[in-house]
Symmetry: C2
Subunit: 359 residues, 2 copies
């Protein structure tokens, strides 16, 4: 059974859980907004289902809710930040503010954080920066789940790249992509659905050989996007985040499913002040024109339209703001258990049956 | 028959051809160095075989050898440049110098050029910037040969991304990749070799459906890297280059094989001064460590080692500096014809047979 809840109710609930876990209210609210924002955009892999995992890290001290981090150095448009293992979203929020401040002053700002934690979906931080009329480039390293091309053991994370632009409506465009072909979730989903095969390029077997067998893939490895180029992009993220930050790199990085060590994530936030190049409204008109031209291509066989980055998520958000956020049974149960442990009242199930919300 | 020539001889010859085409000597030398550098690195697609194509654009006025371009605006760390359809390599050289100057001053520098021309391999400009102790990010748009994902007509170019780091030896790493899975050349080569199939993910047929048939691919389209993510990356490059520059976008961009219009390429050069984050030697040690860890992964079945971005090219360069640059018969003949037309003495064929250079 899938339950539907409004974004506001879900945010309030998540905030209470985080406060009960020891997060100061302003940080709890920020984390809640970032997770629910992912759910709203249909990116459930980065939504509230992460909360029970976050809770484990709060409880064993891997995430230090009181830590605010500190500036290690600031030199021109470049700032290095130590997150002191604070809440990833809080560290990211502070770093985004610095990046925007620097870009206001110099046209560009680049903030590199070390000893941070999981920051939710990168898109949220891209949007945080782009709301200031700036182009955002956000990257982050992650636990070493992806083998290098021609290898067969994880060395680099799924290392996402996000680029956001200050443009809305028909000029909206928002890229947020892992540097693997697909997320592990997609393969787990295929397995759960009893599928036998997945498309070529998604995964490799234990021996590092590309496979289309779900059975092999589930025991194997995610494939870097398109092969060696994806490996290169993943490494680029590792360099721009972790080599520059001085934080843990590659196999030394922890992760949300690794409780034995602190995550030690590195994150990089770049802000580019569009108006240093052209007026913001001209930039937006040019974005609209570019997207119109791209969408004017005849549609490939088997498809009904051309989408650009961010389109599917924007549509999901429109829908979910109206009809609520679906929470699958497993996530619901885990959240209920956590709420009980923490003495927080469980969400009222704002049930949806056949597409209409009960309240 | 493949002829081998030394890099020095090839550079001198190319310089003469370009001077005869009307390029001032300092610009001719720069173009020669950039093209021969690609050949040295084994990237023959961006080497001297381009010269007869460049010549057509010089002759019909699409490339204006005398134009130096001018700064449109400079604001903080951001600079906008108009290339005035000058020689792409010259415009890029000037822009790289500006990017490095700005990054010295502010820690970061971003130069966006419009109305430029083909600049050879992006890697050359990445290296130009990284030689100053800086991380370089270089991008460029191109003629619309790639359909958007789910489309079946070209809208965006192969839009390459290059990232170079100031590190050498065992810490060397240099990414230069088109945002398609492979270059069109690879498909042409498969066709020329009489191959019947190519790997899934390389190309789409005329209808925009992924195909493994060489026959279908040659009449079809290049596939964006890994599907929709490659489309997103291509669009990212178009935004950071052409939307920001104010130059031609998407289908308005010309190209080396389009003589009916000026190329109007946009290029973006970003320099990041490493020392604003950590000392350069520490950065280099961390690069060495990262690469060592990545290469420590067990090797996948069917391979003998793990390579990182730039390794194959560095090996090619080592080899070709010793034994010369191979020029295939077709390229040799086209260069000879051009030399004759321009009254330039043809290269002495420094022939190689069985691996040893004749002179």
């Amino acid at each position: 059974m899938t339950r539907y809840v409004s974004a506001a109710a879900l945010e309030a609930f998540v905030t209470k859980l985080l406060c009960a876990l020891g997060a100061p209210k302003h940080k709890a609210e920020l984390v809640a907004t970032s997770l629910v924002s992912a759910n709203l955009r249909g990116v459930d892999s980065h939504g509230v289902h992460l909360l029970p995992e976050y809770a484990k890290h709060f409880r064993n001290g891997n995430i230090r809710p009181e830590a605010d981090g500190h500036v290690i150095s600031e030199s021109g448009a470049c700032l290095l930040y130590d997150g002191e293992h604070g809440i990833g979203q809080w560290i990211s929020y502070v770093c985004c503010q610095h990046a925007v401040r620097l870009a206001r002053q110099y046209g560009l700002g680049m903030v590199v954080a070390r000893n941070s934690n999981h920051f939710g979906a990168a898109a949220f931080w891209g949007q945080t920066i782009s709301a200031h009329g700036m182009i955002a480039i956000v990257m982050c390293n992650a636990s070493p789940s992806v083998p290098p091309w021609q290898g067969r053991e994880g060395r680099i994370g799924t290392n996402p790249i996000c680029v956001a632009v200050p443009s809305q409506g028909s000029g909206a465009w928002l890229l947020d992509m892992a540097t693997t072909t697909v997320a592990m979730n997609k393969i787990r989903q295929a397995y759960a659905n009893g599928q036998k095969t997945i498309p070529y390029g998604w995964a490799m077997d234990r021996d590092g050989v590309p496979t289309t067998s779900v059975e092999e893939a589930i025991r194997g490895w995610l494939m870097p996007l398109g092969g060696y180029k994806g490996s290169g992009l993943g490494m680029m993220v590792e360099i721009l985040c972790a080599v520059l930050s001085g934080g843990p790199m590659a196999t030394a990085v922890g992760g949300i499913y690794h409780l034995d060590r602190k995550m030690g994530t590195s994150q990089t936030f770049i802000a580019i002040d569009v108006q240093r190049f052209l007026p913001l409204d001209e930039f937006q008109r040019r974005m609209e024109h570019l997207i119109r031209v791209v969408k004017s291509a005849p549609v490939a066989k088997g498809y009904s339209e051309i989408l650009v980055a961010g389109d599917p998520e924007a549509r999901a958000e429109q829908l979910r703001r109206q009809s609520g956020i679906p929470i699958d049974e497993g996530t619901w149960d885990r959240l209920a258990r956590l709420a009980q442990e923490l003495g927080v009242a469980m969400l009222e199930p704002q049930m949806l049956r056949n597409g209409s919300m009960s309240c």
